[in-house]
Symmetry: C2
Subunit: 116 residues, 2 copies
């Protein structure tokens, strides 16, 4: 039987312009987290916009993590979705979301936790 | 000022095993849609699981489309998120979500529409 996973969608305010502008910093941070939390990445796509923010998606065996940054608005939107195929990942989703907020020294504007 | 976009998260039941199992069919379908709706893809990541479903993410200048299939459960979870940076994409998000449901001959189990 399929066990629904947790998907956190979050919008944060961040004035950490270096982190909202440079996809390389995000990449280093996320690779460390993927290793730290024993996640398995099966693909990724990163795109740095000219003179703006970036978009990055990490495909995991457990689902995906996605981020879009808008340094011009001090805004970040991100998603952490881990299914519960092999184990219950609810707490892990919350931990990774918290790590991302801390990375950006962010203030949460809006957050949705969806079981799916 | 940032204009919030629409993010549709949807879970569907689908017995179209060829479409839930073969990432190539999804890829062809999604590339046609990206062209049809004048979206701009800036990256993608597709992964076919051994003996199972697939995960695919398409990064767009307008945000992203993500999908995870579970043929063993006749289940598909997908996300369509388009921001409103250059124009209002709300109707387009709904159209693409509907196209995906039709592609899989799917029945909607759960859907969330989130403005973010």
């Amino acid at each position: 039987m399929y066990k629904a996973g947790l998907h956190i969608l979050c919008e944060i305010h961040s004035t950490a312009q270096d982190k909202t502008s440079e996809v390389k910093k995000w990449h280093t941070f996320m690779q460390k987290n993927i290793q730290k939390y024993d996640l398995v990445q099966v693909g990724e796509s990163l795109h740095q916009f000219d003179g703006g923010g970036y978009t990055a998606v990490h495909c995991l065996t457990e689902s995906h993590i996605a981020i879009h940054t808008w340094p011009e608005y001090n805004l970040v939107t991100f998603d952490v979705f881990l299914c519960n195929y092999l184990k219950d990942n609810h707490i892990l989703v919350e931990r990774i979301a918290a790590e991302i907020v801390t990375f950006f020294s962010g203030e949460i504007i809006q957050q949705h936790n969806i079981k799916r």
